[in-house]
């Protein structure tokens, strides 16, 4: 290992789906590193492959090729048994607190399910399970009287707390957060974000935080990657990215955020056309068709991330280091 803090290293990860129209390059040659106890934000618009990326890392869908090196070992080579054990170290929090909970399970059943599945406790060890469940509910701020309620009786914020508790009950080290607050109202969203931050400080979790909300990602992340049509186009710290966005797509994305201040008007960097699916992609920069700065060289030469300033990477022919 190059860096002793490095917990997860993704190398040339690819996930292709075959569709009737051709091969969909959902995640195409993505590489990055996450350090322990840090948050990597993944931003992009719908269809850019960010959710597929998170699921591929956890092998919820099997990557086409590449490496996922978790604490020095490539988990893509693990067999079923080894992978099952590894799952307790890597967890996921889902976007939709309505769809991500089994409607037939009570709160305590939902939180305790991972314990019995992983064999931490046998289902006969009721007392131990119950103790652990109340501990977790306490941790995520759910009142213990809600233990026997069903998800449909609770509001979105509380459901998402159940989702968080379920992900944390196995003491994971790395958590993929797939748009965990997008479905929540702002006041509730802030409660859940604070909870996630507190838990990270307390237990030293590493987050891969997937979202389309740039202000949320800026607030939480130590590093941010911007994804476009299955590829990374820019990687930087939040301050670098927000003060000095280099990729034309990042610029457009940032300028499109409506700022909650009537006196602050952004000059919008316009985009041509709309997002297409990355089906049967051609070589060259995938952003060319929508880029207002596009040059002939962009159309046929592939681009890869290059470091422009320390820690700030961009994949664009037009940005010269």
């Amino acid at each position: 290992m190059k860096n002793k803090n490095e917990i997860l290293c993704i190398n040339h990860l690819k996930k292709y789906f075959s569709t009737p129209k051709g091969i969909l390059h959902a995640v195409d040659d993505v590489s990055f590193v996450i350090n322990s106890n840090e948050t990597l934000g993944v931003v992009g618009e719908s269809g850019c492959g960010k959710s597929t990326l998170g699921r591929s890392i956890l092998r919820l869908n099997e990557p086409t090729s590449g490496e996922v090196i978790f604490k020095g070992e490539n988990i893509l080579q693990y067999n079923k048994e080894k992978m099952k054990k590894m799952r307790s170290k890597m967890q996921i929090i889902f976007q939709d607190p309505y769809a991500s909970l089994n409607p037939r399970m009570t709160v305590s059943q939902a939180i305790s399910a991972p314990l019995t599945i992983q064999g931490v406790y046998k289902s006969s060890e009721k007392e131990k399970i119950e103790k652990k469940v109340s501990e977790m509910m306490d941790l995520v701020g759910l009142a213990s009287r809600l233990k026997n309620t069903y998800p449909h009786e609770l509001d979105g914020g509380r459901r998402q707390r159940i989702g968080v508790a379920r992900a944390l009950v196995l003491n994971p080290e790395f958590i993929v957060c797939d748009e965990p607050v997008s479905a929540l109202d702002v006041s509730i969203q802030a409660q859940v974000l604070n909870l996630m931050q507190d838990l990270q400080e307390q237990f030293g979790f590493t987050y891969l935080f997937i979202t389309h909300n740039l202000s949320v990602v800026k607030h939480l992340s130590d590093n941010i990657v911007v994804m476009y049509l299955g590829q990374l186009v820019e990687k930087a710290t939040p301050s670098q990215l927000f003060k000095n966005p280099l990729h034309p797509y990042t610029k457009a994305l940032l300028s499109a955020i409506p700022v909650p201040d009537p006196d602050l008007k952004m000059d919008r960097v316009k985009l041509k056309g709309e997002l297409k699916s990355p089906i049967n992609v051609k070589p060259g920069c995938r952003f060319t068709k929508r880029c207002v700065y596009a040059q002939p060289e962009c159309e046929n030469k592939d681009v890869s991330l290059k470091e422009i300033e320390p820690g700030h990477f961009v994949a664009c022919h037009l940005v010269k280091g």
Binding site: N194, Q197, A256, V259, L264
Partner: protein
């Protein structure tokens, strides 16, 4: 400025088998001609109920319009016959819904759908209606050749633009947009909002923009009302609300969103949850979550109090019955 739409003391509830949901309680707002009025609130605050109420689209039952007036150009829409209100809908007031995926009829071409609206409301020939349709499509930057295509052949942002074209086809005086961009990506949202703004200026349409996104409000609205648990808690010009907010709920909303412009290590969320609309608390509806709440807030209902001639707020702090000082000093 003349008031195009005035909603006065509108109260709507829904009777469900779990109890009576008090969706809107005594709501009054007014939209001025040529202006954009933003209505901000969270899920379940009553935003959509208000929009549907104005269009007289409240489903009855379970809905029940208890009281209130909806004055459009001085005429009370509540008193109109169903046939008369149908002439107002689409022609004078039209509406855009949140989800572009389900607001279009999947088995009709977009051109036919727009033309149908035009033919229904304008006294023109079918041929002219299609000319008008193509004009409207060009206006929202969709090539008119695509008018013979079906909704599934369009992307989400384009569908929402088709819906805007349809809504504006009869030059309505008022456009009610219920979360028009929530289902869209930011870059597409920016395109759609910009287009709405341009068209609004071009046709001098008034817009009632319903959203939960404070950024969208700041960038697009002239006047704003904040709605909480079926009640307007604060309203005024956009500058009043964003620069000189008075209600603790409004303050809480702003503290809850991570700000792009500055770095805040921790957000300050509003504690607790929106009260159950089947059993709203006595007194101020916000007192269960308000850090300044005193006995008077728990027992009595605050009145709308003027801050300046436009800016009104429903809070005992403004009535000088409760002080912020004791809490803020702690």
């Amino acid at each position: 400025m003349t008031k195009l739409l005035e909603v006065k003391n509108l109260t709507i509830c829904y009777k469900t088998d779990l109890g009576v949901v008090n969706a809107l309680n005594d709501v009054s707002i007014s939209v001025e001609e040529g202006k954009t009025f933003g209505l901000v609130g969270e899920t379940g605050a009553g935003k959509t109920t208000l929009a549907k109420g104005i269009m007289r689209l409240t489903p009855i039952p379970p809905g029940d319009v208890k009281s209130g007036q909806i004055l459009y150009n001085g005429k009370d829409l509540m008193k109109l016959e169903e046939a008369e209100i149908r002439k107002i809908r689409g022609k004078h007031i039209s509406m855009i819904f949140q989800d572009p995926m389900t607001s279009l009829n999947p088995v009709m071409t977009v051109g036919d759908q727009i033309a149908e609206v035009v033919i229904n409301h304008e006294n023109i020939s079918v041929k002219d209606a299609y000319v008008k349709t193509n004009e409207m499509l060009e206006l929202v930057e969709i090539p008119s050749e695509r008018s013979s295509e079906y909704p599934h052949q369009f992307s989400g942002g384009m569908k929402q633009r088709v819906i805007i074209a349809m809504a504006l086809a009869c030059n309505p005086k008022l456009l009610i947009a219920d979360e028009p961009t929530t289902a869209l990506d930011v870059t597409i949202q920016a395109q759609v909002l910009e287009m709405m703004k341009e068209l609004k200026n071009k046709f001098n349409t008034s817009v009632l923009l319903i959203t939960h996104d404070l950024g969208v409000v700041a960038q697009n609205c002239d006047d704003v009302a904040v709605i909480y648990a079926g009640e307007v808690v604060e309203s005024g010009t956009v500058r009043d609300i964003f620069k000189n907010m008075k209600h603790p709920y409004t303050e809480g909303l702003f503290a809850s969103i991570p700000n792009i412009a500055e770095d805040v290590r921790r957000l300050k969320p509003i504690d607790g949850l929106m009260p159950d609309p089947t059993s709203l608390p006595k007194g101020c509806k916000f007192h269960t979550r308000c850090k300044y709440a005193q006995d008077v807030c728990r027992n009595e209902h605050p009145k709308m109090t003027l801050v300046n001639d436009r800016h009104i707020v429903r809070c005992f702090i403004q009535e000088n019955l409760v002080s912020r000082r004791d809490i803020d000093e702690k």
